[in-house]
Amino acid sequence: MNSRPDNRDANDPEMAELEAEFGSIMRTLREGPHDIEPVAASAGLWAKIEHDISGPHVVVGDEESSDATVVSLDSARERRWGKPAAILTAVAAAVLLVAVPVGLSLGSDGADVDDVLLASGDLDVLDAADDQSAVVELYDTDGNLWLDLDTSRAAGDGEFLELWLIEPDANGEVADLISLGFIDGSGAYDIPDDVDLERFSVVDISVEPDDGNPEHSGDSIHRGIPNSA
Protein backbone atom coordinates (compact mmCIF):
# COMPACT_ATOMS: atom_id res chain seq x y z
CA MET A 1 0.00 0.00 0.00
CA ASN A 2 2.91 2.28 0.63
CA SER A 3 5.02 1.06 -2.22
CA ARG A 4 6.82 3.82 -4.00
CA PRO A 5 6.60 4.35 -7.74
CA ASP A 6 8.95 1.94 -9.41
CA ASN A 7 9.84 4.31 -12.20
CA ARG A 8 11.95 6.57 -10.01
CA ASP A 9 14.75 4.06 -9.89
CA ALA A 10 13.83 2.19 -12.99
CA ASN A 11 17.23 2.68 -14.55
CA ASP A 12 19.06 1.68 -11.39
CA PRO A 13 19.65 -2.06 -11.48
CA GLU A 14 21.05 -1.99 -7.95
CA MET A 15 17.75 -0.71 -6.65
CA ALA A 16 15.98 -3.62 -8.28
CA GLU A 17 18.48 -5.93 -6.66
CA LEU A 18 17.79 -4.41 -3.24
CA GLU A 19 14.05 -4.75 -3.81
CA ALA A 20 14.55 -8.40 -4.61
CA GLU A 21 16.64 -9.05 -1.53
CA PHE A 22 15.11 -6.73 1.07
CA GLY A 23 11.69 -6.01 -0.42
CA SER A 24 9.59 -6.74 2.64
CA ILE A 25 11.93 -4.87 4.96
CA MET A 26 11.93 -1.88 2.63
CA ARG A 27 8.13 -1.87 2.44
CA THR A 28 7.88 -1.96 6.24
CA LEU A 29 10.43 0.83 6.56
CA ARG A 30 8.46 3.01 4.15
CA GLU A 31 5.49 2.84 6.49
CA GLY A 32 7.55 5.08 8.74
CA PRO A 33 8.76 4.71 12.33
CA HIS A 34 6.63 2.73 14.76
CA ASP A 35 4.22 4.67 16.95
CA ILE A 36 4.21 2.44 20.02
CA GLU A 37 4.02 4.41 23.22
CA PRO A 38 6.26 3.07 25.96
CA VAL A 39 4.27 2.14 29.06
CA ALA A 40 5.95 2.34 32.45
CA ALA A 41 5.91 -0.96 34.33
CA SER A 42 3.73 -1.01 37.40
CA ALA A 43 5.57 -1.30 40.69
CA GLY A 44 5.17 -5.04 41.23
CA LEU A 45 6.02 -6.30 37.77
CA TRP A 46 9.72 -6.83 38.31
CA ALA A 47 9.05 -8.76 41.51
CA LYS A 48 6.72 -11.09 39.60
CA ILE A 49 9.36 -11.73 36.95
CA GLU A 50 12.01 -12.26 39.59
CA HIS A 51 9.73 -14.73 41.34
CA ASP A 52 9.11 -16.64 38.13
CA ILE A 53 12.80 -17.04 37.35
CA SER A 54 14.08 -17.76 40.84
CA GLY A 55 15.86 -21.07 41.13
CA PRO A 56 16.67 -23.49 38.37
CA HIS A 57 13.89 -25.60 36.98
CA VAL A 58 13.97 -29.25 36.19
CA VAL A 59 11.55 -31.50 34.47
CA VAL A 60 10.08 -34.03 36.84
CA GLY A 61 8.19 -37.00 35.62
CA ASP A 62 8.54 -39.77 33.13
CA GLU A 63 11.29 -38.69 30.76
CA GLU A 64 9.58 -40.46 27.91
CA SER A 65 6.34 -38.71 28.55
CA SER A 66 5.61 -35.48 26.77
CA ASP A 67 3.40 -34.17 29.53
CA ALA A 68 6.14 -33.90 32.13
CA THR A 69 5.62 -30.86 34.28
CA VAL A 70 8.18 -28.22 35.03
CA VAL A 71 8.52 -27.50 38.70
CA SER A 72 10.81 -25.50 40.85
CA LEU A 73 13.96 -27.39 41.69
CA ASP A 74 13.49 -26.60 45.35
CA SER A 75 10.17 -28.38 45.55
CA ALA A 76 11.45 -31.24 43.44
CA ARG A 77 14.36 -31.78 45.76
CA GLU A 78 12.32 -31.36 48.86
CA ARG A 79 10.01 -34.08 47.69
CA ARG A 80 12.82 -36.55 47.34
CA TRP A 81 15.22 -35.51 50.05
CA GLY A 82 13.04 -34.31 52.83
CA LYS A 83 14.92 -31.27 54.07
CA PRO A 84 18.05 -30.66 52.04
CA ALA A 85 19.02 -27.70 54.21
CA ALA A 86 19.32 -29.96 57.22
CA ILE A 87 21.62 -32.30 55.35
CA LEU A 88 23.81 -29.46 54.23
CA THR A 89 23.98 -27.94 57.66
CA ALA A 90 25.11 -31.23 59.10
CA VAL A 91 27.74 -31.53 56.42
CA ALA A 92 28.93 -28.00 57.01
CA ALA A 93 29.16 -28.57 60.74
CA ALA A 94 31.45 -31.49 60.13
CA VAL A 95 33.81 -29.07 58.35
CA LEU A 96 35.38 -31.90 56.49
CA LEU A 97 33.10 -32.35 53.61
CA VAL A 98 32.65 -35.87 52.44
CA ALA A 99 31.87 -36.08 48.79
CA VAL A 100 29.07 -38.50 48.08
CA PRO A 101 29.21 -39.82 44.54
CA VAL A 102 25.69 -41.04 44.22
CA GLY A 103 22.56 -40.53 42.29
CA LEU A 104 20.47 -39.30 45.14
CA SER A 105 17.18 -40.50 43.88
CA LEU A 106 15.25 -42.07 46.71
CA GLY A 107 12.40 -43.08 44.52
CA SER A 108 12.27 -46.63 43.29
CA ASP A 109 9.90 -46.15 40.40
CA GLY A 110 12.58 -44.72 38.15
CA ALA A 111 10.46 -41.68 37.40
CA ASP A 112 12.46 -39.25 39.47
CA VAL A 113 15.27 -37.30 37.97
CA ASP A 114 18.59 -38.12 39.53
CA ASP A 115 20.65 -35.31 40.97
CA VAL A 116 24.21 -36.56 40.66
CA LEU A 117 26.70 -34.95 42.98
CA LEU A 118 29.79 -34.14 40.91
CA ALA A 119 31.87 -32.07 43.30
CA SER A 120 31.64 -30.27 46.59
CA GLY A 121 33.53 -28.43 49.24
CA ASP A 122 33.88 -25.51 51.63
CA LEU A 123 34.80 -22.24 50.02
CA ASP A 124 37.81 -20.61 51.58
CA VAL A 125 37.21 -17.51 53.63
CA LEU A 126 39.44 -14.76 52.31
CA ASP A 127 39.37 -12.65 55.44
CA ALA A 128 40.87 -14.51 58.38
CA ALA A 129 38.76 -12.47 60.82
CA ASP A 130 35.60 -13.62 59.08
CA ASP A 131 33.84 -16.51 60.79
CA GLN A 132 31.15 -17.24 58.22
CA SER A 133 31.22 -20.22 55.91
CA ALA A 134 30.01 -21.09 52.45
CA VAL A 135 29.62 -24.64 51.21
CA VAL A 136 28.87 -25.52 47.61
CA GLU A 137 27.86 -28.72 45.93
CA LEU A 138 27.85 -29.16 42.18
CA TYR A 139 25.03 -31.30 40.83
CA ASP A 140 24.15 -32.70 37.46
CA THR A 141 20.45 -33.12 36.89
CA ASP A 142 19.86 -34.69 33.50
CA GLY A 143 22.78 -32.84 32.00
CA ASN A 144 21.88 -29.52 33.64
CA LEU A 145 24.54 -28.39 36.06
CA TRP A 146 23.74 -26.35 39.11
CA LEU A 147 25.38 -25.25 42.31
CA ASP A 148 23.78 -25.70 45.68
CA LEU A 149 25.13 -23.01 47.93
CA ASP A 150 24.79 -23.15 51.69
CA THR A 151 25.76 -20.04 53.58
CA SER A 152 24.33 -17.85 56.28
CA ARG A 153 25.71 -14.79 54.57
CA ALA A 154 23.44 -11.88 53.77
CA ALA A 155 24.28 -8.75 51.84
CA GLY A 156 24.60 -5.53 53.84
CA ASP A 157 22.74 -2.35 53.00
CA GLY A 158 23.64 -0.92 49.61
CA GLU A 159 25.55 -3.97 48.47
CA PHE A 160 24.99 -7.34 46.88
CA LEU A 161 26.67 -10.71 47.11
CA GLU A 162 27.44 -12.18 43.71
CA LEU A 163 28.34 -15.73 42.76
CA TRP A 164 30.96 -16.25 40.07
CA LEU A 165 32.77 -18.99 38.20
CA ILE A 166 36.36 -18.11 37.43
CA GLU A 167 38.77 -19.48 34.89
CA PRO A 168 42.29 -19.36 36.32
CA ASP A 169 45.30 -19.04 34.05
CA ALA A 170 48.56 -20.93 34.52
CA ASN A 171 49.71 -18.45 37.17
CA GLY A 172 46.55 -18.71 39.20
CA GLU A 173 45.36 -15.33 38.00
CA VAL A 174 41.95 -14.60 36.59
CA ALA A 175 41.68 -15.40 32.90
CA ASP A 176 37.93 -15.02 32.59
CA LEU A 177 34.82 -15.11 34.73
CA ILE A 178 31.10 -15.67 34.54
CA SER A 179 28.47 -14.35 36.89
CA LEU A 180 25.87 -16.78 38.16
CA GLY A 181 23.91 -13.91 39.63
CA PHE A 182 23.29 -12.34 42.99
CA ILE A 183 22.82 -14.53 45.99
CA ASP A 184 20.77 -14.13 49.09
CA GLY A 185 21.91 -16.76 51.49
CA SER A 186 21.53 -20.39 50.56
CA GLY A 187 20.05 -21.41 47.25
CA ALA A 188 20.37 -23.28 43.99
CA TYR A 189 22.10 -21.54 41.11
CA ASP A 190 21.86 -22.72 37.54
CA ILE A 191 25.03 -22.98 35.47
CA PRO A 192 24.46 -22.07 31.81
CA ASP A 193 24.69 -25.00 29.40
CA ASP A 194 27.77 -23.90 27.55
CA VAL A 195 30.04 -23.30 30.53
CA ASP A 196 33.09 -25.54 30.56
CA LEU A 197 33.72 -26.32 34.21
CA GLU A 198 37.13 -27.74 33.42
CA ARG A 199 38.01 -24.14 32.56
CA PHE A 200 35.78 -22.24 34.97
CA SER A 201 36.89 -24.32 37.89
CA VAL A 202 36.84 -21.77 40.68
CA VAL A 203 33.76 -20.71 42.63
CA ASP A 204 33.90 -17.18 43.97
CA ILE A 205 31.61 -14.97 46.03
CA SER A 206 32.13 -11.24 45.95
CA VAL A 207 30.67 -8.20 47.63
CA GLU A 208 29.37 -5.84 44.97
CA PRO A 209 28.51 -2.23 45.65
CA ASP A 210 25.11 -1.13 44.32
CA ASP A 211 26.72 1.01 41.64
CA GLY A 212 25.33 -0.55 38.47
CA ASN A 213 28.78 -1.78 37.45
CA PRO A 214 28.33 -5.40 36.37
CA GLU A 215 32.01 -6.25 36.63
CA HIS A 216 33.58 -8.04 39.54
CA SER A 217 34.36 -5.57 42.29
CA GLY A 218 37.59 -7.36 43.17
CA ASP A 219 36.24 -7.69 46.69
CA SER A 220 35.96 -11.45 47.09
CA ILE A 221 34.95 -12.99 50.39
CA HIS A 222 34.90 -16.69 49.48
CA ARG A 223 36.73 -18.71 46.90
CA GLY A 224 37.51 -22.33 46.22
CA ILE A 225 37.70 -25.18 43.75
CA PRO A 226 35.18 -27.97 44.19
CA ASN A 227 36.72 -31.35 44.70
CA SER A 228 35.46 -34.03 42.38
CA ALA A 229 33.15 -36.45 44.03
Binding site: P33, I36, E37, A41, V95, D122, A128, G172, V174, V195
Partner: protein, 205 residues
Protein backbone atom coordinates in the same frame (compact mmCIF):
# COMPACT_ATOMS: atom_id res chain seq x y z
CA UNK B 1 48.75 -6.28 44.72
CA UNK B 2 49.10 -10.02 44.69
CA UNK B 3 47.83 -11.90 47.65
CA UNK B 4 48.27 -15.54 48.31
CA UNK B 5 45.15 -17.01 49.74
CA UNK B 6 45.80 -19.31 52.62
CA UNK B 7 43.28 -21.64 54.04
CA UNK B 8 41.86 -20.42 57.32
CA UNK B 9 42.63 -22.37 60.44
CA UNK B 10 40.50 -25.40 60.95
CA UNK B 11 40.02 -25.99 57.26
CA UNK B 12 43.61 -26.73 56.31
CA UNK B 13 44.72 -30.27 55.52
CA UNK B 14 41.30 -31.77 55.87
CA UNK B 15 39.62 -29.65 53.29
CA UNK B 16 39.30 -31.32 49.90
CA UNK B 17 39.84 -27.97 48.14
CA UNK B 18 42.94 -26.96 46.33
CA UNK B 19 44.09 -23.52 47.36
CA UNK B 20 45.12 -21.33 44.45
CA UNK B 21 46.90 -18.03 44.76
CA UNK B 22 45.10 -15.06 43.39
CA UNK B 23 45.37 -11.51 42.41
CA UNK B 24 42.52 -10.12 44.39
CA UNK B 25 42.14 -6.69 42.80
CA UNK B 26 41.67 -7.81 39.25
CA UNK B 27 39.69 -6.36 36.42
CA UNK B 28 37.81 -8.41 33.86
CA UNK B 29 39.87 -8.44 30.65
CA UNK B 30 37.05 -7.67 28.21
CA UNK B 31 33.86 -5.97 29.36
CA UNK B 32 30.91 -8.18 28.52
CA UNK B 33 27.96 -6.74 26.64
CA UNK B 34 24.47 -6.80 28.06
CA UNK B 35 23.68 -9.59 25.61
CA UNK B 36 26.67 -11.69 26.71
CA UNK B 37 25.88 -11.26 30.37
CA UNK B 38 22.25 -12.13 29.73
CA UNK B 39 23.17 -15.37 27.98
CA UNK B 40 25.70 -16.15 30.72
CA UNK B 41 22.86 -16.10 33.24
CA UNK B 42 23.59 -12.79 34.93
CA UNK B 43 20.29 -11.79 36.52
CA UNK B 44 21.50 -8.21 36.69
CA UNK B 45 21.50 -8.23 32.88
CA UNK B 46 17.85 -9.28 32.91
CA UNK B 47 17.09 -6.46 35.32
CA UNK B 48 18.90 -4.00 33.08
CA UNK B 49 17.00 -5.27 30.05
CA UNK B 50 13.75 -4.92 31.98
CA UNK B 51 14.55 -1.36 33.04
CA UNK B 52 15.72 -0.39 29.59
CA UNK B 53 13.29 -2.20 27.30
CA UNK B 54 10.39 -3.01 29.65
CA UNK B 55 8.32 0.10 28.84
CA UNK B 56 8.62 -0.48 25.10
CA UNK B 57 7.82 -4.19 25.43
CA UNK B 58 4.79 -3.42 27.62
CA UNK B 59 3.77 -0.76 25.09
CA UNK B 60 4.01 -3.34 22.32
CA UNK B 61 1.96 -5.83 24.34
CA UNK B 62 -0.65 -3.17 25.06
CA UNK B 63 -0.98 -2.56 21.36
CA UNK B 64 -1.27 -6.28 20.66
CA UNK B 65 -3.39 -7.58 23.55
CA UNK B 66 -4.79 -4.53 25.34
CA UNK B 67 -5.30 -4.54 29.07
CA UNK B 68 -3.45 -7.79 29.77
CA UNK B 69 -0.24 -6.19 28.49
CA UNK B 70 1.70 -6.52 31.73
CA UNK B 71 0.88 -10.19 32.17
CA UNK B 72 2.04 -10.93 28.65
CA UNK B 73 5.17 -8.80 29.04
CA UNK B 74 5.94 -10.72 32.24
CA UNK B 75 5.63 -14.01 30.36
CA UNK B 76 7.86 -12.64 27.62
CA UNK B 77 10.67 -11.63 29.97
CA UNK B 78 10.51 -14.95 31.80
CA UNK B 79 10.49 -16.91 28.53
CA UNK B 80 13.40 -14.84 27.21
CA UNK B 81 15.36 -15.61 30.35
CA UNK B 82 14.57 -19.32 30.35
CA UNK B 83 15.37 -19.55 26.65
CA UNK B 84 18.50 -17.44 26.82
CA UNK B 85 20.78 -20.23 25.63
CA UNK B 86 19.06 -19.98 22.25
CA UNK B 87 19.83 -16.27 21.91
CA UNK B 88 22.73 -15.65 19.53
CA UNK B 89 24.68 -12.71 20.91
CA UNK B 90 26.57 -12.21 17.66
CA UNK B 91 23.49 -11.81 15.55
CA UNK B 92 21.41 -9.06 17.01
CA UNK B 93 20.14 -7.22 20.03
CA UNK B 94 18.37 -8.39 23.14
CA UNK B 95 15.72 -5.79 22.39
CA UNK B 96 14.79 -7.51 19.12
CA UNK B 97 14.81 -10.92 20.82
CA UNK B 98 12.48 -9.63 23.55
CA UNK B 99 10.16 -7.97 21.04
CA UNK B 100 9.88 -11.20 19.08
CA UNK B 101 9.06 -13.21 22.20
CA UNK B 102 6.51 -10.59 23.26
CA UNK B 103 4.89 -11.05 19.87
CA UNK B 104 4.71 -14.84 20.29
CA UNK B 105 3.34 -14.53 23.81
CA UNK B 106 0.77 -11.98 22.64
CA UNK B 107 -0.42 -14.30 19.90
CA UNK B 108 -0.65 -17.17 22.42
CA UNK B 109 -2.70 -14.93 24.67
CA UNK B 110 -5.05 -13.87 21.89
CA UNK B 111 -5.47 -17.49 20.86
CA UNK B 112 -6.37 -18.49 24.43
CA UNK B 113 -8.89 -15.67 24.73
CA UNK B 114 -10.41 -16.64 21.42
CA UNK B 115 -10.97 -20.18 22.65
CA UNK B 116 -13.02 -19.02 25.61
CA UNK B 117 -16.80 -18.93 25.21
CA UNK B 118 -17.86 -15.44 24.22
CA UNK B 119 -20.33 -14.51 26.94
CA UNK B 120 -20.93 -11.12 25.40
CA UNK B 121 -21.81 -12.65 22.10
CA UNK B 122 -18.89 -10.82 20.51
CA UNK B 123 -17.68 -12.12 17.20
CA UNK B 124 -14.61 -14.34 17.55
CA UNK B 125 -11.75 -12.62 15.81
CA UNK B 126 -9.97 -14.07 12.84
CA UNK B 127 -6.83 -15.62 14.32
CA UNK B 128 -4.85 -15.54 11.13
CA UNK B 129 -5.56 -11.86 10.75
CA UNK B 130 -4.60 -11.15 14.37
CA UNK B 131 -1.32 -12.98 13.90
CA UNK B 132 -0.53 -11.10 10.74
CA UNK B 133 -1.34 -7.81 12.47
CA UNK B 134 0.84 -8.69 15.45
CA UNK B 135 3.71 -9.58 13.15
CA UNK B 136 3.40 -6.37 11.16
CA UNK B 137 3.32 -4.20 14.26
CA UNK B 138 6.26 -6.03 15.85
CA UNK B 139 8.38 -6.06 12.70
CA UNK B 140 7.87 -2.34 12.31
CA UNK B 141 8.90 -1.75 15.90
CA UNK B 142 11.97 -3.96 15.63
CA UNK B 143 13.08 -2.22 12.44
CA UNK B 144 12.58 1.27 13.86
CA UNK B 145 14.49 0.42 17.00
CA UNK B 146 17.27 -1.29 15.07
CA UNK B 147 17.55 1.66 12.73
CA UNK B 148 18.18 3.92 15.69
CA UNK B 149 21.19 1.77 16.62
CA UNK B 150 22.97 2.20 13.30
CA UNK B 151 25.89 4.58 13.16
CA UNK B 152 24.72 8.18 12.68
CA UNK B 153 25.85 8.46 9.09
CA UNK B 154 24.30 5.16 8.05
CA UNK B 155 21.10 5.89 9.92
CA UNK B 156 20.66 9.23 8.19
CA UNK B 157 21.17 7.65 4.78
CA UNK B 158 18.68 4.85 5.47
CA UNK B 159 16.15 7.30 6.91
CA UNK B 160 16.38 9.55 3.86
CA UNK B 161 16.03 6.56 1.55
CA UNK B 162 12.97 5.06 3.24
CA UNK B 163 11.34 7.63 5.49
CA UNK B 164 12.28 10.49 3.16
CA UNK B 165 11.57 8.48 0.01
CA UNK B 166 14.67 9.86 -1.71
CA UNK B 167 16.66 8.16 -4.45
CA UNK B 168 20.29 7.29 -3.86
CA UNK B 169 21.38 10.12 -6.17
CA UNK B 170 19.25 12.62 -4.30
CA UNK B 171 20.77 11.50 -1.01
CA UNK B 172 24.24 11.72 -2.52
CA UNK B 173 23.57 15.32 -3.57
CA UNK B 174 21.93 16.31 -0.34
CA UNK B 175 24.69 14.93 1.89
CA UNK B 176 27.55 15.63 -0.54
CA UNK B 177 28.38 11.97 -0.17
CA UNK B 178 29.75 9.82 -3.00
CA UNK B 179 27.00 7.74 -4.59
CA UNK B 180 28.91 4.52 -3.87
CA UNK B 181 29.01 5.37 -0.18
CA UNK B 182 25.27 6.01 -0.13
CA UNK B 183 24.59 2.67 -1.81
CA UNK B 184 26.93 0.90 0.57
CA UNK B 185 25.23 2.46 3.62
CA UNK B 186 21.81 1.46 2.34
CA UNK B 187 22.85 -2.13 1.70
CA UNK B 188 24.79 -2.56 4.94
CA UNK B 189 22.00 -0.89 6.87
CA UNK B 190 19.43 -3.23 5.37
CA UNK B 191 21.62 -6.23 6.19
CA UNK B 192 21.81 -5.15 9.83
CA UNK B 193 18.06 -4.60 9.97
CA UNK B 194 17.42 -7.99 8.42
CA UNK B 195 19.60 -9.68 11.05
CA UNK B 196 17.64 -7.93 13.82
CA UNK B 197 14.38 -9.00 12.25
CA UNK B 198 15.61 -12.58 12.11
CA UNK B 199 16.53 -12.47 15.79
CA UNK B 200 12.99 -11.34 16.57
CA UNK B 201 11.51 -14.15 14.50
CA UNK B 202 13.31 -16.89 16.40
CA UNK B 203 11.29 -18.80 18.94
CA UNK B 204 12.46 -18.63 22.50
CA UNK B 205 11.17 -22.09 23.20
Amino acid sequence: MTMTVTSPKGLALETPWRIPSWTVGYIRPVPATLEERFVAGDELALREAFDEYGPLIIGLCRRLVGRDAEDVAQQAFVAAWNGRSRFDTGKGSLKSWLAGIARFKSIDHLRAINRRPQSTGAEPQDLGEMQADASRVTDRMVLTEALARLSDERRVVVELAFYGDMTHSEISDKLSMPLGTVKSHVRRGLETLRAELEVSHEQSS
